[in-house]
């Protein structure tokens, strides 16, 4: 069955009509990868077979732990050793089996025949070597070019990946470039030796949506220009729809489904694929509704929100950080992280702050809890928090709690889960003894965990369960507001959907308010009553969910919405963006006066800010 399936001629939806003649460049057969675990060896890739046709894109999709990255590393013989090893199978490229090549021969394949790009642009370049050194290193890895020719090729490559001012970039170091620029450099390195196959392992996962759109378009353009076969690994069905000619869905190391992009999206044959597609939040699926996805009695809550005093009132919040220097360490310049924003969060309401990295959304959340110094006015539940010290802030913090992004880093690995959830109650002296136990048991149950897991440690839980523990901890003080900072960003889509549902159910039940901080437009659309779009420390647009998603006014809001990859392979693919764009720097000299903005009220609390002049 495997065999017949593989030999099916692939239908090509994009790029003009059917094409059954594409020849295979890489044929993978029964690839198995074994990983050593404390419980003995475990197969993380289990007899996986697929062909990579010349000049086409194959997307391998799956959730974390599906073995998709291991597949890519195995093909390059770059598996982390001695932990993981190839347990069987073959991968034929130009008559050679990549899986059995000795290191010296494999080295000739890497870079020359197959280039690879990785997920983390922030760590995949060497921090102590200049861009030029690294790029020329890749160009001359096999000694074909040297000296001046290598320099010329480096400039040519930077031009191909659309990097402005290529000459200057060669002198720069990775930390001086943005994530998007770095990923372009990594792509240039992968293509430095004219390889005909590009393996891209989650190349845009760590990037902002607008940058992601640019990079995906760049990969498509390079593919067409140079006839490269792309094997793209991703968890994001939107990216799959955007890129794939063929899709291979993986789960627990096995192939679940394999077919043309249109087949897999339109007629998924397997339950798992259907579930995966259903869990993907689709931008625009909430069109025509006012309340968040699972909200009950939404109208009542809204009416209530309008009547009562707001839960949080923020006026002219400004956060600036000094950069110090000189002999006396006096401030020499200033980071303008948040620049005069005002908003309210009503009772039982979810306000989402959405924007790209560095826009100040997390800083705003931290300022609300007095975790950083700020200027302006913040009232929580009617109480002004300005200038409150740690002790005076305590009663306020009973009303406001926070959930963070990384469920692995935000739980103390040496504390039992029960103690983690109980800690806030103990700190505030609210419960002890059996009462405390009962409360913790209730909280764990409330977030869908079992009370007898209380004595376990965080490492015994999965990412989704840990995020539930974080939610239980945040709920322990019965707060009236939770600041959720990218709280579902690190989770797989199916888990993400469950956690979002949990948050919504808690709101329906308790009337809690959320300040939901996220970069993900689709998630924001599902959970919010109201949305504020942030750019460079300011609000550019704020309004109800319908205002923002169905009638966006500011150009930046529109750009953000357009950049979100849509899980629909029939949608026309976006045009290539000619030049890489970067956000401007938020660092300014001390005497910098931020430009004035003018707010336009479109009615129904739909506000748009524009810079004057």
């Amino acid at each position: 069955m495997n065999q017949s399936h593989q030999k099916e001629p692939w239908k090509r939806e994009t790029n003009g009509g059917a094409d059954a003649t594409a020849t295979t460049s890489l044929a993978v057969n029964d690839l198995s990868v074994q990983v050593a675990t404390p419980d003995g060896p475990k197969l993380v890739v289990d007899r996986l077979s697929f062909d990579l046709p010349e000049g086409r894109t194959l997307c391998i999709a799956g959730e974390s732990g599906s073995g998709k990255s291991m597949t890519a590393l195995a093909l390059m013989q770059l598996l982390p050793r001695p932990m993981a090893r190839i347990a069987g199978g073959s991968a034929m490229l130009d008559g050679e089996d990549l899986l059995t090549l000795p290191e010296s021969r494999m080295r000739q394949v890497r870079g020359r025949k197959i280039g690879m790009i990785f997920q983390e642009p922030m760590t995949s370049l060497n921090p102590v070597l200049s861009i030029g050194t690294q790029l020329k290193g890749a160009i001359t890895a096999h000694g074909e070019l040297a000296g001046r020719a290598a320099g010329a090729r480096a400039l040519e490559l930077l031009d191909q990946v659309q990097i402005p001012e290529p000459r200057r970039r060669l002198e720069q170091y990775p930390h001086e470039l943005s994530g998007g620029m770095r990923q372009r450099i990594v792509i240039a390195m992968a293509l430095a030796q004219h390889s005909k196959i590009l393996i891209a392992d989650e190349p845009t996962t760590a990037l902002d949506v607008t940058v992601q759109a640019q990079i995906l378009a760049l990969i498509r353009k390079l593919q067409v220009d140079h006839g490269i076969a792309v094997m793209m690994i991703t968890h994001d069905m939107g990216v799959v729809a955007e890129m794939a000619d063929q899709v291979l869905v993986m789960k627990h190391g096995r192939r679940v489904e394999h077919g043309s992009s249109a087949e897999v999206f339109d007629n998924p044959r397997e339950d798992y694929t259907r579930k995966l597609l259903a869990a993907v939040p689709r931008l625009g699926e909430m069109t025509g509704t006012d309340a968040p996805k699972r909200a009950k009695g939404a109208e009542a809550a809204q009416a209530k929100a309008a009547d009562e005093a707001p839960m949080v009132e923020v006026r002219d919040l400004t956060v600036r950080f000094d950069i110090r220097g000189g002999i006396l360490q006096r401030p020499v310049s200033r980071v303008h992280a948040v620049e005069g924003i005002s908003f309210t969060v009503g009772r039982g309401e979810t306000l989402s702050l959405v924007g790209e990295s560095g826009c100040g959304k997390s800083t705003t959340g931290k300022a609300l809890l007095n975790l950083i110094p700020w200027q302006g006015d913040v009232k929580v539940n009617g109480r002004s928090t300005r200038g409150l010290g740690a002790k005076a802030m305590r009663p306020v913090l009973r009303d406001v709690q926070m959930i963070f992004q990384d469920p692995y880093a935000s739980l103390d690995a040496r504390m039992r889960v029960g103690d983690i959830v109980a800690e806030p109650l103990v700190i505030h002296g609210l419960a002890q003894g059996s009462e405390l136990n009962e409360r913790v048991a209730y909280l764990l149950e409330r977030v869908g965990l079992s009370p007898d897991q209380m004595r376990r440690y965080p490492h015994e839980f999965s990412g989704g369960q840990r995020q539930r523990i974080c939610i239980a901890r945040a709920l322990s003080l019965s707060p009236k507001l939770i600041v959720a900072d990218e709280s579902v960003a690190a989770l797989d889509v199916s888990i993400q959907a469950q956690v979002l549902d949990l948050l919504q159910d808690i709101q329906d039940e308790t009337g809690i308010s959320y300040l939901f901080i996220s970069h993900d437009m689709a998630v924001v659309e599902q959970i919010s009553h109201r949305v504020a779009v942030m750019y460079m420390g300011r609000f550019v647009e704020m309004g109800s969910r319908r205002h923002i998603f169905e009638n966006p006014q500011h150009s930046y809001t529109k750009k953000l919405i357009e950049a979100v990859p849509v899980a629909d392979p029939h949608r026309p693919r976006r045009d290539f963006v000619a030049k890489a764009e970067d956000l401007p720097s938020p660092v300014h000299p001390l005497d910098y006066v931020p430009p004035q903005t003018r707010v336009r009220d479109l009615g129904g609390r739909h506000l748009v800010w524009e810079v004057e002049g």
């Binding site: 770059l78 890497r110 921090p127 890749a138 002999i327």
Partner: protein, 306 residues
Amino acid sequence: MAAYIIRRLIQTALILLGISFVTFILLYLVPADPARQIAGRSATAETVENIREQLGLNLPFYEQYLRYLASLLQGDFGRSYLQKTEVSTLIAARLPASLLLMAGAIACELAFGLAMGIVAALRRGSHTDNALMITSFIGVSAPQFVIGILLLYVFAVKLGWFPIGGYGTFVHLVLPSVTLGFLGAGWYSRMMRSSLIDVLRQDYVRTARATGLSRAKVLFRHAMPNAILPIVAMIGIDIGLFMSGIVVVESVFGWPGIGQLAWQAIQRVDIPIIMGVTLVSACAIVLGNLLADLVTPLIDPRIKLR
């Protein structure tokens, strides 16, 4: 950069001031009487009292310290009680030998330590790795006088390859340097091993390998500059460790450096020499650290001194 160095030098001056104060207190509290030492056992109480008065040892503590500090600020370390020579002259005569020994020791440390660390990291978990780490453990834990005497016995007494002691030629330098460097080599090899293992796991090493670079290029061009950073910081601190080691090693090998000078001065409670040597060593430690901090940004462009 200039502002950074100036600020660090100001800090250095404050640190030296603090050290001079603490050392002075300690020496003041030592229950030995320098005047009695100078006068000798047979001297009368009157003679001892005279000497005490002459040296200002009968003055209250703060006055003694302020006097010392005042002359120190004029570059005057005082005169040795017993040798009747300027302390600065004594130190200046001895310092080159100690610096030479230190340079030899650093060379040994780096050569042995880095080589052992790199091999151990590349062959992690193998017998070679285990053997190297046991060796380094011995280096870290064995007292230096034991290592020194063992080396002397084997290589000087039994094999006769090196002189038993003394100063002058390259062969005289070998055994003391190895003895002094053995401890550091133990530390450096462990540090190098863990640092390199960590760096080899980094994404950028994988990226470099994915472009088809050879193992040697990946190791020396990509991994080493990153792995060496903690070592550079360590060298700065190390100069301080040397100062304690030098006292022992110079005595074992009869090396005419400031370690020996200090050792003799301590036995005779020759306070000006002890103070002088302490301040010079403190200076070396602080300047060593400053040097390490100045070298680091040359390797790592992310570090900016300001």
